[in-house]
């Protein structure tokens, strides 16, 4: 049984800064060369407000938060919709904030409801993780 994993428990929100340099590192590590994550003109040409973070980078940050909260519990499910872009400025960083709570525990599995925001806007839709409790 993992400490703090009780139904209704809320975890301490964690803030992760994201920079353009992070997008370059992520693109290389994940093998995702999509220029909408690097090039302002290409991003705007497909209707985006600017260079955006890879959705999977943001979900990856949610995964980090889950690992921190649960002391590295085995993840059985992880997923979300990508509902709003995380626009990353050319200079400086944006902050992605991950919060979460325990929604249910059943058959040794804990379902965590997550909330992931950037500038107070939810960027992931119904992000959810299931871990082995």
């Amino acid at each position: 049984m993992i400490a703090g994993l009780v139904v209704g428990a809320a975890f301490e929100p964690i803030t992760y800064p994201v920079t353009r340099a992070d997008l370059v590192s992520y693109a290389a590590a994940a093998g995702d060369p999509n220029p909408i994550h690097q090039d302002e003109d290409v991003a705007r040409s497909v209707g985006l407000p600017g260079v955006i973070a890879h959705g999977m980078l943001t979900l990856g940050l949610a995964g980090r938060a889950v690992a921190t909260w649960t002391d590295g519990a085995e993840v059985v499910e992880l997923g979300c919709k990508f509902t709003n872009p995380v626009v990353v400025p050319a200079e400086g960083s944006v902050e992605v904030v991950v919060s979460g709570s325990v929604k249910k525990i059943e058959d040794g599995l804990a379902t965590l409801a997550l909330e992931v925001t950037c500038n107070d806007v939810k960027v992931l839709g119904m992000p959810k993780a299931v871990v082995r409790a």
Partner: protein, 132 residues
């Protein structure tokens, strides 16, 4: 140009085998701002799913820059481990058109070298067709 409706249900060939190395996992973890250790981040299988998606996009002559990631779900049979040799097999699960965009539902089954299912990665891809 809309994506061909006959794609629904089609399974694409498995991707080339990819062995999960300490260096690749460390680069992936570092790119997420984490301090690398021996655990593989839960989103790492996207690397395999991305291989499969790229092969699918190339086959259908779809430009990557016109693809927006709409949704991603992973279901894990077991954690991915360093040293695993994995392949991904993509199936087109669904296809619909909304407001000039193709909404493509894909499911990539990720298997290990013994053929055991490790993870299923389901992605919704939004193809913003552009000028037809």
């Amino acid at each position: 140009m809309p994506v061909d409706q006959s794609l629904v249900g089609r399974e694409f060939p498995p991707t080339s085998q990819r062995t999960v190395t300490t260096d690749e996992v460390a680069a992936f973890a570092t790119a997420l701002g984490a301090v690398p250790d021996d655990t593989v981040p839960p989103t790492y299988p996207i690397v395999l799913a991305f291989d499969a998606m790229n092969a699918f996009l190339a086959s259908e002559q779809i430009d990557l820059f016109r693809i927006i990631h709409g949704e991603q779900r992973f279901a894990y049979e077991r954690p991915v481990r360093i040293g695993d040799t994995l392949t991904a097999t993509l199936t087109v699960a669904s296809l619909r058109q909304i407001g000039g965009a193709d909404i493509i539902g894909t499911s990539s089954a990720i298997h290990d070298a013994d053929g055991a299912l490790v993870c299923t990665a389901k992605a919704t891809l939004v193809h913003t067709g552009g000028a037809a």
